[in-house]
């Protein structure tokens, strides 16, 4: 049970700046021994960055970390481990081909002379597993275990390093109800032994079932800390979303036309199930939900980046099953991927070459020889239209800021004259000014009759830009909102939260 003792860990005014974004802005936090402290916030609120600062992965640009009353510099992850801070991530970074004991003790092995003693390691592993109540052998190969069991190994590993502070990042995201219960009881057992636990979770069940206190982050800011009996679900949601709605959304007068994209009962085993939605010409449709809800997977399957197992995709009245992004592009669909650096751009290449890549055939004489002149005239046009800030179109894409990179990606799609544009988190990592420019552009395109499907986790963006909204949760469409005017963020967030299904 929580005691009102001196804090074990205190983080004061932590600030972290990444190129183009303030990921944390003067955030404070404290942790007492033997408590479970939940940190909640929307995607992008700064939770992950905060954890990375605490574990020494990132160095803060301001603020201090105080452990046991003494300031500490977490210069690298080893320092954090040395001080007994251990993190268990959503996707356990284990070695699937090695045994449980090897996974637990890799990096800090028992030695007999110069040799590693796996006998001792196995014995110690067995003891740790007993301690947390895990019922599998230390000799089992980790790849053969369930996600829940792998997480127990991570916990055992943390304990083997004498962790006093345990960070659990979305620990139940991939667990069933029963497995979650088991994890809860392990967590409570550790707390009672004096281990302090930081819990990051989207699930209210986790927060209200496990945490003693709860801290809310929003937009890189610290909002507040409450005892768990001082708050309820709707109060937390209120704190998480806030009411700061910005005024940089363009005025629109939507005139939806023909239905140009119709997706029915689309399923892909393990990713999404029975997903249906429609898109009309000149319409902006928001597709929202939590990270991992399957939104990206659905649109990638629609565009032929990956496959779908069953269901139909109808584009402008014709049933389609694209095998390749090229196919969907040739049929007028443009997908702007979320991960610009990895999927969207060739960073060492110039703006010019990036923009003309999808339409390279059209920039050549008789499809044989490239015409530098027509390439440059196309990319100069896009650069002017999108107000890309760069000296000229020969500038390498990698040198641009996030917002300008996003404009180049959009420019590519415009140059390919798509009739349907799918934007995956279009303003992620983009500064305010460029955001406004991107919204302006979306409105402009919609007024020209382009159908826009926008995947976004940012509630204000979804609510202010969309004509209709679909919400996904755990691979399914849980809700469609056709009347966006009277919608509240709470309604959307409730539909996005994972539900216990009776199945």
């Amino acid at each position: 049970m929580p005691q009102a003792s001196q804090p074990l860990l205190e983080m004061r005014n932590i600030t972290k700046i990444f190129p183009g974004v303030r990921a944390l802005d003067g955030v404070s936090f404290d942790l007492r021994p033997g408590e479970i402290h939940a940190i909640v916030g929307e995607n992008g609120a700064g939770k992950s960055t905060f954890i990375k600062v605490l574990t020494g992965v990132h160095q803060p640009d301001g603020g201090e970390i105080i452990l046991d009353g003494r300031p500490i510099v977490m210069s690298n992850p080893n320092v954090a481990i040395h001080h007994g801070i251990a993190a268990i991530y959503q996707h356990a970074a284990s070695y699937p081909d090695l045994s449980v004991a090897e996974n637990i003790f890799i990096g800090h092995e028992f030695k007999t002379g110069p040799f590693v003693s796996w006998i001792k390691a196995r014995r110690a592993a067995q003891k740790l597993l007993d301690e947390i109540g895990a019922n599998f052998s230390p000799n089992a190969s980790v790849g053969s275990l369930s996600v829940a069991q792998q997480q127990m190994i991570e916990i055992a590993k943390a304990l083997s390093q004498n962790a006093r502070i345990l960070i659990m990042d979305e620990p139940t995201a991939a667990l069933s109800k029963k497995e979650s219960e088991e994890l809860y009881s392990i967590a409570r057992g550790l707390r009672d032994k004096g281990v302090a636990i930081i819990l990051i979770s989207h699930r209210f069940e986790d927060i209200f079932g496990l945490a003693d206190r709860c801290t809310v982050f929003r937009d890189a800011h610290y909002i507040g800390t409450w005892g768990i009996d001082e708050v309820n679900e709707s109060l937390l949601v209120h704190h998480m979303v806030g009411h700061a709605i910005e005024h940089y959304y363009p005025e629109r007068d939507p005139h939806p036309g023909e239905e140009i994209l119709k997706v029915e009962h689309l399923s892909r085993t393990g990713y999404f199930k029975d997903v249906s939605f429609t898109l009309r010409a000149g319409e902006i449709v928001g597709l929202t939900g939590l990270v991992g809800a399957g939104r990206t997977e659905v649109v990638e399957a629609v565009c032929g980046v990956t496959r779908f197992d069953s269901g139909t995709v109808t584009v402008e009245g014709k049933p389609q099953h694209f095998r390749d992004p090229r196919d969907s592009m040739d049929n007028g669909i443009g997908l702007l991927p979320e991960d610009r650096q990895k999927q969207g751009l060739l960073l060492p290449w110039s703006i010019n070459r990036n923009i003309t890549l999808p339409i390279i055939d059209k920039c050549s004489k008789a499809k044989l020889f490239l015409s530098g002149k027509s390439e440059r005239s196309i990319s100069n046009k896009e650069k002017d239209q999108l107000a890309i800030k760069a000296p000229d179109v020969e500038t390498a894409a990698g040198t641009l800021s996030g917002g300008n990179q996003q404009k180049v990606v959009i420019g590519k799609q415009l140059a390919a004259s798509s009739r349907i544009i799918i934007l995956d988190e279009p303003t992620k990592g983009v500064d305010i000014g460029s955001k406004a420019a991107i919204y302006e552009l979306m409105a402009e395109l919609a007024s020209q009759g382009v159908g826009i499907l926008m995947i976004s986790s940012e509630m204000p963006e979804v609510m202010n830009m969309s004509d209709r909204i679909y919400v996904m949760s755990e691979g399914r469409v849980t809700k469609e909102f056709t009347n966006v005017k009277d919608l509240t963020q709470q309604q959307i967030l409730e539909a996005a939260m994972p539900q216990e299904r009776t199945a």
Binding site: K342, P348, I360, C363, L368, A390, A396, G398, T399, S401
Partner: protein, 342 residues
């Protein structure tokens, strides 16, 4: 256009670092010139007496290296080129011996065809079977050598001088304006390859695939087919080199070109081609191939223990070239990050 240094996003004007980053073959050209100058001073008359031989000897490697450039650019590799060379030359040679074929064009068509077919298999297995390039082409090396028809046709073990027509033997080394045909062929291949890579949509797609396969695919490049095509080109060039070799030495036997794949890869790497894909130029490959050939020819003139010194120089140069490449890549990345306006 070609010689213009890329702008770094902020400062205009000439910048030596930018220039070297964009033209990684330039330092190498310096080494080649120094080496030639040194040996010409030490051994008077070396250059005029030997250089045509160097060119003749490296013409086959140049053709193969042009093909290798394509596969390295997409981030792949082909170690079966030497075996493919032997197979293509052997099949064409057997056909000529049996009087099934006599024209020059026919010989080249067979050679390139055989090579391209094997390249197609290589590329298709990689692209659609998702097998690592080095494994596929290692297997193909054995397979191609096994398919060389000499062991089981008429008990013959190799194609020799008497199997070939006089016209074929004479043509490859026939000189126009003092330059043998074999050098013209290499020159033509190099020029066409350079134009293909720089000025065609397919060439651009090859660079895109190697630079960032996922982004290229998302942007509508059919990366799987681009990979197959690169291997078809590489195989075809190896087959073509086989016919050139047959005309040059008038003989081919199993294992004759053993080790030449490494020579070709070395020429590319030395010429600044990134084995990770996405960066490399034909000019660099030409300089790399000529440099290796020059070392092989010049070192015996300079040192007593020629074999040892040859290998020493080649080894040092390759390691230095790779190190330089890595350093320049790092400098380029850093420069890009600096230009980001935060």
């Amino acid at each position: 256009m070609d010689k213009k240094p890329v702008k770094n996003g902020r400062a205009g004007g000439f910048n030596l670092l930018s220039f070297v980053i964009e033209h990684r073959e330039i330092p190498l050209l310096g080494v080649l010139v120094l080496l030639l100058a040194g040996v010409s001073i030490a051994v008077p008359g070396y250059f005029s007496g030997n250089y045509m031989n160097i060119l003749k000897n490296s013409s086959m490697n140049l053709v193969m290296a042009s093909g290798m450039l394509c596969v390295l650019l997409i981030g792949s590799i082909d170690i079966s080129v030497a075996a493919v060379l032997e197979l293509a030359a052997a099949i064409a040679g057997v056909l000529m011996r049996d009087s099934k074929i006599s024209s020059m064009i026919g010989m080249f068509a067979i050679g390139i065809g055989v090579g391209a077919l094997i390249g197609f298999v290589n590329g298709a297995v990689m692209s659609f079977g998702r097998v690592l390039p080095i494994i596929v082409t290692l297997g193909m090396t054995y397979l191609a050598r096994a398919l060389i028809p000499m062991d089981f046709i008429l008990g013959m073990n190799k194609i020799a001088r008497i199997d070939l027509t006089d016209y074929f033997k004479e043509f490859i080394l026939h000189e126009y304006l003092g330059i043998p045909v074999i050098v013209y062929i290499a020159l033509a291949v190099v020029v066409i390859m350079g134009l293909f890579l720089k000025y065609t949509p397919v060439g651009r797609s090859i660079y895109a695939t190697g630079s960032n396969e996922e982004a290229a695919r998302m942007r509508g490049v059919k990366v799987k087919w681009i990979k197959v095509l690169a291997h078809v080109i590489c195989g075809g060039m190896a087959g073509m080199a086989g016919i050139m070799r047959l005309g040059y030495y008038n003989a081919i036997e199993k294992g004759a070109a053993n080790g030449q794949e490494m020579y070709v890869i070395a020429a590319c790497v030395l010429g600044g081609v990134s084995v990770m894909g996405g960066y490399g130029k034909i000019t660099g490959v030409v300089i790399g191939a000529l440099l290796i050939a020059t070392i092989d020819s010049a070192i015996p003139q300079l040192f007593m223990n020629a074999t040892m010194m040859k290998e020493f120089f080649k080894g040092i140069l390759i390691l230095m070239a790779i190190l330089l490449n890595v350093l320049l890549q790092r400098a380029a990345t850093k420069r890009n990050l600096k230009g980001r306006d935060i």
